[in-house]
């Protein structure tokens, strides 16, 4: 027994080192972006030149950039709201609606995971052209709802499933209608997950590039703006400054979503069935 414990401990520490190396692999390339964003040279190479904030200064007063940023923010808020609304209703009806239609819709809603982005992009491009909308902000919103939908459905579904069934039954027994039960009991209980789903959908929309590439009209989103800048070597340091800001904000939002999700799960554990 003792030998065995030593054994697992040994492989634990080897594995621990591996995990550490893996985290370095995961983060090192990404952290080069902030590193070189402060470097006083157009070339992203060692040795580092002087420290500078000039690339950050070029971010200010750039109308194309602020236009793209605003566009991305508006689209992400609307698309995330739409995807969260769909995620809540689809997963709730799937779990409690007991209709085969609801189960089918829930299965189809998770389907976009199995469709490469390029195909999601072109199929929506054909659709929006057919209905006369054409590439536009509305088209991008539709695309992003679709891309974020599997995530919001999965997040909301696991949250609803974690609420003990007895809670809903008690509300129904006490005379609450289905809708009242949903609005007054189930939705408030899953509020942290709703916020978490919204934030994740927001990030997905904000960062999404492959689908948006087909659906953007004259006003680019932030990733499209970055893509257009990547062609010019002179603008790379500015892209790195911009990238640093995006990374920092994404990390903060993802961290907040994670904390909210945990709080939700904690609340579920405190109310055991």
């Amino acid at each position: 027994m003792k030998a065995e414990q030593a054994d697992t401990k040994r492989d634990g520490s080897w594995l621990g080192l591996y995990v550490l190396a893996y985290l370095v692999f995961l983060y090192l390339p990404v952290l080069l972006i902030p590193l070189f964003s402060f470097n006083d040279s157009i070339q992203a190479a060692f040795p580092l030149q002087g420290l500078t904030l000039q690339w950050y200064q070029t971010l200010y007063g750039n109308p194309a950039l602020s236009g793209a940023l605003l566009n991305s923010l508006v689209i992400a808020v609307i698309a995330a709201s739409g995807a969260t609304l769909c995620g809540i209703t689809v997963s709730y009806m799937d779990l409690y609606g007991r209709s085969p239609l609801a189960a089918t819709i829930s299965a189809i809603a998770r389907l976009p995971i199995l469709i490469p982005g390029v195909i999601v992009g072109i199929s929506l491009l054909i659709l929006v052209n057919l209905i006369g909308l054409g590439p536009s902000r509305v088209a991008i919103v539709l695309g992003h709802i679709l891309v974020a939908l599997p995530t919001t459905v999965v997040v909301m579904r696991s949250r609803f499933a974690a609420i003990p069934r007895t809670v809903r039954e008690a509300a129904l027994d006490l005379g609450a209608s289905d809708w009242t039960t949903f609005r007054r009991v189930m939705l408030p209980l899953s509020l942290p997950a709703v916020l978490s789903a919204f934030m994740l959908a927001f990030l997905i929309s904000f960062d999404e590039f492959i689908v948006v590439f087909f659906l953007a009209g004259t006003e680019p989103t932030l990733p499209l703006y970055i893509w257009s800048q990547l062609r010019f070597p002179r603008s790379l340091p500015t892209v790195m400054a911009l990238g640093t800001v995006i990374l920092a904000v994404s990390f903060i939002i993802a961290g907040t979503a994670e904390i909210l999700r945990h709080r939700g799960l904690g609340a579920a554990r405190r109310n055991p069935a």
């Binding site: 492989d11 594995l15 390339p29 990404v30 990547l230």
Partner: protein
């Protein structure tokens, strides 16, 4: 309550995909939905060696990315499930965090690392290991594989971790009580039981990879053009939407086959335990 979900799933997913399928059987006359009914697009795909080469290359690259991602992610998931202890939550957050940051920026980061005047070359020269920068890193299929394996790492870790975490610890104790050495227990108990997670991971890495066109364009060079790039150019420069739709249908067929094979494998492993 079903309305928003039903609208999105039926109109945006099923109808839009149906449009792609329809368009794939139309001739190109420059109009939105093409003209006539034809299998000519598929005949071209089947007979022109260019499409065979590119399709095969996409499958090989996506396959290699999937293999590399799953094999390197497995030990991380294993550590999380069996050795992480109190650090589990934090580690889980750290490995998924990069997923929530811009995909475009992560690919761009690899471009900085691998470029001729880039980080890797300059670091090797600074440290005196090499005397001249090499062109061997950027614009190779290997660069595409590394970049994509990095980009999709969290997708692989999560499902494998979930599968490993649901294995009852009593199974491992039983294996060691029955005299299995740790490696035998791993091979005969842990690995087969985690196969559903491994297959799910393989699928979520393979699907977006096989249709990707961003990474091949940024770090792959002409020798790593993938099918996503061809589809994208049909809807852009080449302006032959029906043919692009036909290519998309072929990609979806390949994915369908992969999904069915994965399902079959899943069932085989499922019946074993």
């Amino acid at each position: 309550m079903l309305l928003p979900g039903a609208l999105v799933t039926f109109l945006l997913i099923l109808f839009a995909l149906g449009l792609v399928l329809f368009l794939a059987f139309r001739g190109n006359d420059g109009s939105l939905l093409g003209v006539g009914l034809t299998v000519g697009n598929f005949v071209t795909v089947a007979t022109d060696p260019l499409y065979w080469t590119v399709t095969l290359r996409s499958l090989v690259i996506a396959g290699l990315v999937t293999l590399a991602t799953v094999v390197t992610a497995y030990p991380v998931a294993y550590y999380l499930a069996f050795h992480a202890g109190r650090r589990r939550g934090l580690l889980l957050f750290l490995v998924t965090l990069p997923f929530w940051t811009s995909y475009l920026l992560r690919v761009f980061a690899w471009k900085i690392v691998l470029a001729y005047n880039g980080v890797l070359n300059s670091a090797l020269i600074e440290s005196g290991i090499w005397s001249e920068p090499t062109l061997a890193f950027l614009n190779t299929p290997a660069a595409v594989v590394v970049t994509l394996a990095h980009a999709y790492a969290p997708f692989a870790i999560l499902p494998i971790y979930v599968a490993l975490d649901t294995i009852p610890k009593s199974l491992l104790e039983a294996a060691s009580d029955l005299g299995a050495r740790p490696f035998t227990a791993f091979r005969r108990v842990v690995l087969p039981n985690s196969m559903p997670g491994v297959l799910a991971a393989a699928l979520v890495v393979f699907v977006p990879t096989v249709g990707d066109y961003v990474t091949p364009a940024m770090v792959g060079g002409p020798a790593s053009t993938m099918i996503g790039t061809l589809i994208q150019s049909q809807f852009g420069k080449a302006n032959d939407w029906p043919f692009g739709a036909a290519l998309s249908v072929c990609v979806m067929l390949v994915i369908l086959v992969v999904v069915l094979v994965a399902r079959g494998a899943d069932r085989r492993f499922g019946s074993r335990t």
